[in-house]
């Protein structure tokens, strides 16, 4: 696309990631360095690292795209993504750190002493991790295609290879530095262009976001038709278009509505309550994002690097602030995208809003191109950091639970460095192969489904495990199988199944509102029915989870 800065910017981000990884490698000498950063990472570093890890392609690209398309109703995505950390802080952060558990399977072992439950948790960690990794790699491929015109496979392979190498060679200490760097890079990459864009919008005399006569093209725009569709023009007339046709719109011409591209019209966009799933969908989304964050494996693994429970709390609070600060910007891009890149509403490729907006607003001069390169670098940082974090946690459970078991060291024993590297290769290869072969999935939707699965499996396990003495291993396993299994089923139907209509569609597309209560109910009911299996040491476990470290028990 003729922007000379984008490729160097992406290469620079990748090299910086590798360089910080190798700098960390020199510091990481022992197995414990590799796995948990020796537990000496300060809250601020750790919080930036968690933020860097958490803000994935779905946050960096997806949120702005959704807002451009659907308007105020999807603001619940960023709010929920941030509020998840509040739920984590209130119910999980300090006790989880005090439990000493490094992964979710570790937590099962510490609290309920059950090998079977440990295996089940491992399976869910790997499933959620891969469900989250595939769209990251696909987003990387699509970004490379959008901004450089390069092949899709190259982007997915590049990010997959860089991340796998970095995780396998540097382990987690390196990853902590890499992630913290990535957070600040991502924030800068959105904030700096946003300032220029807003100033330019002011200079334009603040063109309205929802003009009374409908959206208009800011400049002459050519749209190439790829699929047969029906355009509904502003005066209500319709027009059939054929693939290959080039539509030329002059500046000031109204934007037509394209059949098959689901977007919200003016008032629906501006005002809440016009979601496809209605109130049910909104509340289901709120439940999934608020409660799902605590069940994401790459988030939990970070808590072990806090020195104690109080530090874990403070870290979570800083993360909440950092993540909230970040989410202000995607909203801005989504809103101003309606003024400057309305053609994306015709193509439906709204995930490209953030990437295209700088040039669309500031022109293709040096400034616009430099800012576009900065945004592209930030997007790559998003793919690299989320994938690294996910891969570290998936590799962590594979090395401690699958490989260590196979080599007769028994589950729960810290695997060797070599085990961890082998696990990282395996854990990285599978999603790369999937990303290259599976038909393109919608980034934000799949990430939302991963949240729903986490909210209906690990959230009840953690909350009940930490606060309720009578939880038993059978109860926990039944709750995860029924609630998490129902969510996994809904995911499979959404991704592979036929399109659904009416209430079934709402229940399947946003399953959290029924799968989360189901998981809690089953877990409590089965635990009460198997009361005799309550672990005998639950008292001392509770003491360990909740007593402050200052007592030095």
């Amino acid at each position: 696309m003729g922007n000379p800065y984008i490729v160097p910017a992406i290469v620079a981000v990748t090299l910086a990631t590798l360089a910080i990884g190798f700098y960390g490698l020199k510091l990481a000498r022992t197995t414990s360095d590799f796995l948990v950063a020796s537990r000496v990472v300060s809250p601020t570093w750790n919080a930036a690292a968690i933020g860097g890890e958490y803000l994935s392609a779905a946050s960096f690209l997806g949120v702005a795209g959704l807002i451009l398309k659907y308007g105020v109703d999807v603001l619940w995505y960023p709010v929920g993504f941030a509020a998840g950390y509040l739920a984590l802080l209130l119910f999980v952060a300090a006790p989880l750190r005090r439990s000493g558990a490094f992964t979710l399977p570790d937590f099962c072992e510490v609290r309920l002493h059950s090998r079977g439950l440990r295996k089940l948790a491992t399976a869910f960690v790997v499933f959620i991790g891969w469900l989250y990794l595939v769209p990251q790699l696909q987003g990387a491929g699509l970004t490379l295609t959008t901004v450089t015109g390069g092949p899709y496979e190259l982007g997915a392979l590049l990010v997959g290879a860089v991340v796998t190498a970095n995780v396998a060679l540097g382990g987690m200490r390196a990853i902590t530095f890499v992630q913290a760097f990535q957070y600040w890079l991502k924030l800068t990459a959105l904030a700096v262009p946003a300032m220029f864009i807003v100033l330019h919008w002011q200079g334009d005399g603040r063109p309205p976001v929802t003009p009374p006569d409908g959206l208009t093209f800011p400049t002459a725009t050519t749209v190439v038709v790829e699929h047969r569709a029906t355009l509904t023009l502003h005066d209500g007339s319709t027009r059939e278009v054929q693939p290959g046709e080039e539509l030329v719109f002059q500046a000031g011409e109204p934007v037509p509505h394209v059949s098959g591209v689901d977007t919200a019209r003016e008032m629906d966009w501006l005002l809440p309550g016009n979601d496809a799933g209605g109130l049910f969908g909104t509340y289901s989304l709120i439940l999934a994002t608020f409660l799902g964050t605590m069940g994401l494996p790459h988030v939990l693994v970070r808590f072990y690097t806090n020195p104690n429970g109080a530090a874990a709390r403070r870290t979570t609070l800083v993360v909440l602030a950092l993540v909230g600060l970040f989410y202000f910007f995607p909203t801005l891009y989504g809103v101003l995208g309606r003024v400057y890149t309305p053609q994306l509403l015709m193509t439906g490729e709204t995930d490209a809003t953030v990437l295209l907006l700088p040039v669309a607003v500031l022109g293709s001069g040096a400034l616009g191109q430099l800012l576009a390169a900065l945004v592209a670098a930030g997007a790559f940082a998003a793919f690299l950091s989320s994938s690294s974090g996910l891969l570290t946690s998936v590799a962590g459970v594979i090395s401690t639970d699958v490989l260590a078991h196979a080599s007769d060291r028994g589950p729960g024993q810290r695997g060797s460095v070599r085990d961890f590297r082998v696990a990282a290769l395996v854990a990285g290869l599978v999603p790369v192969v999937l990303a290259l072969n599976v038909a393109s999935l919608d980034v934000s939707q799949v990430v939302g489904l991963a949240f729903a699965v986490a909210a209906s499996s690990f959230c009840p396990l953690l909350v009940l495990g930490i606060w309720w003495r009578r939880l038993t291993d059978l109860g926990a396993a039944a709750g995860i199988l029924v609630g998490g299994g129902a969510a996994v089923g809904a995911v499979m139907v959404t991704i592979l199944g036929p399109p659904l209509e009416g209430w079934t569609a709402a229940l399947i597309a946003q399953p959290a509102a029924w799968t989360v209560p189901l998981a809690f109910a089953v877990m409590v009911a089965v635990s009460l029915a198997t009361r005799r299996r309550t672990p005998p040491d639950v008292g001392s476990t509770m003491l360990r989870l909740h007593a402050p470290e200052s007592l030095r028990l």
Partner: protein, 130 residues
């Protein structure tokens, strides 16, 4: 392993000024109460867990009302959505900007109150013998 000191003689008194011996002895007793799951120790831990859970639930209710009621409010009273503050309609302002400082404020309150609960617990455990 730390040995309990007798702490009776005069030379030891000078060390007590440093609050070392007395604290360690009390601390050992408290530690034993807690770790050996005596009735007192168990009640202390249950009290702490209950206090922390009640705090977390109370703040969840604050969020459930502050944020969770918004979709319902917008659905029941659509006129609220059309209110504009500084040229931005209210739902956009509440969700796009206001929600984040609100969440951080609730989180800050939780960290402060949860640490106070823990200090209370520590104070009870370390309380010198009556």
């Amino acid at each position: 392993m730390e040995q309990p000191t007798t702490g009776a003689g005069a030379p030891q008194r000078t060390r007590i000024v440093l609050a070392d011996v007395v604290r360690r002895r009390d601390h050992d007793r408290a530690r034993a109460e807690l770790t050996e799951q005596t009735q007192v120790g168990d009640a202390l831990v249950r009290g702490l867990v209950r206090a922390q859970l009640a705090l977390a639930l109370r703040l969840s209710v604050v969020v459930a009302i502050g944020l969770g009621a918004l979709p319902l409010l917008f659905a029941v009273a659509p006129t609220i959505s059309t209110v504009k503050v500084m040229g931005i309609s209210l739902p956009w302002l509440l969700l796009g900007v206001g929600a984040f400082p609100f969440l951080v404020a609730v989180g800050w309150a939780y960290v402060y109150l949860a640490e106070r609960n823990e200090q209370d617990f520590t104070a009870v455990v370390r309380r010198p013998e009556r």
